[in-house]
Amino acid sequence: MKKILNRYGWTITALVMLTAMFLIFRGLRVDSEVRLTRMKESGDAALSGRIRIAGVLASRGEQSFAQRIQIDAVHPDGLLSADLTVMSDHAYHALSFSHSHNLLDDHQAEAIYTISAQTVGQQNHLTVIRRSWQTGRETYASLPVDLKSSLSLSAIGARYDPWYAINGDMKSALAWIDDTLYGIVPAGEGDSGSSSLFRVNHWRTDRSVETDPPNQPTSTELARLSLDQGWRPLALFAYHQQLVLVSGTRQLDAAGQLADGYSLLAVDLYDVSGQVMQHVDVDASFYNIQSITLNEDTLCVTTGGDELASRLFTLSLAGQPGYWGKITLDEPEQTNLDPARLALVLDEHAYLLDVVRLHPIQSDDLLSVTYQDGYVLKDIPWPYLENAAYRGRTDLRLTVVDPNGAQRYQVYLDCGLNDDLQPLLAVGPNAAQADIRQIANLVLEEAPLS
């Protein structure tokens, strides 16, 4: 043995090293492939252009999975048109802790909000916690609520945080009108009693729920909404000076017990004092909520279950909210959604974003987005952006050019995620194109944000 080691020591060392390096390099450099496939739409064709869905599809009984990539708009002619969001780990965290389906709005970009409930004596209290992204400082508001839970609230506390929005049916619990925070007490499985529509008047620094002075409560209950008959709040949005509450009614079995799935979908408009202004409801049989978005006057509720369907409502300040209709979306090939691989991207049409492998890649690899027929839409220098995000660069500009070399659109990317945890992006449509470094179909350059 010693003789062999003496004679072949260097050879053995070199072979072991080469093998180890090959395996390590190979393991650390794995492609990420993204495919974009068009979904078949059936229903009222006039509605298809109004559908908005953002986020991740969740299959029955399984946890959904937040993707690193979110593309908000795709043109029918095949080129990405706007709002490309490439998320680093930090953005991923930010997104995870915020409402994943609407990205971050201005308020959520400043702070993270969570809601927790606890029992003091015989009274349940709701606590809204605001934690600043920048300083980490927490402030609180509390509200006595009539929410009864089959869970042991007093022992462990029932906590709603926006992470729940990824998996749960409650997609948005908070809304802002003129910098005032409004919220709906999220009621989940097994809860009874009442949910509450509330407004936060001011924040305090003391966490204790019993420290609200009687004449200066931190929050005010605007409306008490009974959870009888399986009624469940699903999303709250601000619409001009009104609040839009989307809710559903759980199905009941023959014995009058709550069963899986929903049987009714309702949209209510409240004024800021908690009065119901308008109401519309539709019969809808579905298992879970995939996405709820409010885009201008169009409310889009996408539900899962036996079918993946988007129901559209139109809102107006003067008249009654109207139900437009439903579009059913069918996946071209697969029927069972794999939450770890699939995300839905919509603008004019519905697409499935299929992330085949999520591993990051080496710098000369590109993240390809292709049509089902294999046509490459674009290539993203993913590691470059990742690296830029790590270094805190805030001056990157992303340009997408078509295969003929013509520039299609350009956005600035705020990659300073390390510093402020804010994901992307400021749009600069008319910036000059200078000093470019072209990588396949995509041009990336530095530019001062102005």
């Binding site: 260097w10 060392t13 390099f25 794995v30 999520l358 710098s363 000369d364 990742e386 790590y390």
Partner: protein, 269 residues
């Protein structure tokens, strides 16, 4: 000379080179293994010490792995380990100028000095790579031991991401062919600088100062080059890349040739 004689001569030279490399590497092997073992153990201890507060505060779930690597001082450990490896290489060369430590009397040194120098370079380069590989393995093992269970579900690819986000890890695993080539040249340059410096010190009959001064100048220029290449995220155009690689290769080539010249000169004495 017939083809048969040529091939026989070539095989003899390759065989001689192989035995020389093996011999040179055996001189370094034990010391390098000790450095690697220490590097691995200290690396794991540093990880454990760094991770303790994270685990206590349950923050590990959201800590990027590259942040843990940076905080645990792995880059300093790498520098120290590489420094020790270079010291061992230098001492190894120095020892061979002491009686009874060399096998070179078996060969005709006047004609085989080039092969001897090549063998020294290759063996030392292997040792240095072994130290770097140990550091790499240490970091990956730490990820599997301490990080994987908490992070892999939440942050898929966190290990791979770390190797794209950390400048230190990018040095261990170059992100592209260009960086790989550049680093290979730099490692050979580092080894050649050490060996040539020792040979300068043992240069017969002349002052070692001018030669050592040139070595210091080469190291400074290399440091500046290193700063330019790794100091910016900018993607250099192909011409700039070629120029950088050319400068590094010229520096490396001149140091290697200088070392070979010194060895031949020494052998001729």
């Amino acid at each position: 000379m017939t083809l048969k004689k040529l091939s026989r001569s070539f095989i003899q030279r390759v065989g001689k080179l192989y035995y020389l490399i093996n011999h040179e590497y055996r001189l370094l092997q034990k010391q390098i293994l000790i450095v690697c073992l220490l590097e691995f153990v200290i690396g794991q201890v540093l990880f454990i010490v760094t991770l303790t507060p994270y685990n206590r505060e349950e923050k590990l779930l959201f800590a990027p792995f590259e942040q843990i690597v940076a905080q645990s001082g792995q880059s300093l450990l790498t520098i120290v380990s590489v420094g020790f490896a270079l010291l061992i290489i230098g001492l190894g060369v120095h020892q061979q100028f002491t009686p009874g430590k060399s096998i070179y009397r078996l060969y005709h040194l006047e004609t085989s000095a080039g092969i001897l120098y090549g063998a020294k370079l290759i063996a030392a380069f292997t040792g240095l790579l072994f130290v770097l590989l140990t550091q790499l393995v240490s970091i990956i093992v730490a990820w599997f031991l301490f990080f994987q269970s908490s992070a892999s579900d939440l942050i898929p690819g966190s290990l791979q991401l770390a190797f794209l986000r950390s400048a230190h890890l990018l040095l261990l695993v170059p992100a592209d062919t260009w960086h790989l080539a550049f680093q290979a040249v730099l490692l050979i340059l580092a080894v050649a600088c050490v060996i040539s410096s020792v040979l300068e010190l043992h240069k017969p009959g002349k002052s070692a100062f001018p030669g050592l001064a040139i070595m210091v100048a080469v190291i400074l220029v290399t440091a500046v080059l290193l700063r330019i290449v790794y100091g910016s995220l900018d993607e250099f155009n192909p011409a700039t890349r070629f120029f950088q690689l050319l400068v590094a290769t010229l520096l490396c080539g001149s140091v290697v040739l200088r070392g070979r010249h010194l060895l031949v000169e020494r052998a001729a004495c």
